[in-house]
Point group: C2
Chain length 112, copies 2
DNA sequence: AACACCTGTTAAAAATATATTACATATGTA
DNA sequence: TACATATGTAATATATTTTTAACAGGTGTT
């Protein structure tokens, strides 16, 4: 879930999803429609693909040119305190310790 | 919607939401339970509060100490290509131009 | 050959986000 | 007064993300 949220937390990537809704587009065309450079688009697509929100398929057009078509993976995610609490159970938060007690000198702000 | 997604795209903040589910907690207690320093927690809470996912209320405990209690704002958001496409309509993506044509020299990768 | 498209990648710069350290302040109790 | 708790902020360091610039190669058409 976190990976999906990270993938969606960017205006360009939301726009890419909106542009892909209901149709397949190849990378260069998508770059034009999204008004962004291809290297940047590749980066964003990679992130969306890693989150499995989009998929790609290389095809040869009738004139023999290679075209990489992207399309949306159907998804319908619900975000609520409950669904988040569930997802958190499977998360490993780095540097976590689970300290319950706390007998620290009041001058220190750090906790661990 | 973007602001909410950005607020949720972080493991610590998801954890904070999970910890706040169904109860009110004051900042110091939350810092202990989340195993993070208060300055860091403040930063994350500010982000959640800006997205209106949590709210806070200062109260005086029985012994006269000031306590800042945080609680969840109920929310239930749906994420689908459709809801995203709707949200994108209201987004202003910086440096957008809406270039439809493109007569650029093939050597350049930049598009605008 | 030169042009117009298409496919990608790598390296570095710029912008944000995250995390830490140090500080300042207040209340109640031993 | 000293200690333990609570409130909060400002400045800095670190890490990550986003963006740009430069490169390397393919096919088909004029």
């Amino acid at each position: 879930m976190l990976k999906i949220l990270e993938a969606l937390a960017n205006p360009h990537r939301l726009q890419i999803i909106a542009l892909l809704k209901g149709r397949r587009i190849h990378v260069s065309q998508l770059a034009r429609e999204a008004s962004m450079s291809r290297p940047l688009l590749y980066m964003h697509l990679k992130r969306l693909e890693a989150a499995k929100l989009v998929s790609s398929k290389m095809e040869l057009s009738s004139n023999g040119k290679a075209m990489n078509y992207y399309e949306l993976t159907p998804f319908d995610l619900r975000l609520s305190p409950e669904s988040i609490a569930e997802a958190v159970k499977t998360l490993t938060i780095k540097k976590s310790g689970g300290t319950t007690s706390g007998t620290s000198s009041a001058k220190e702000d750090t906790h661990e």
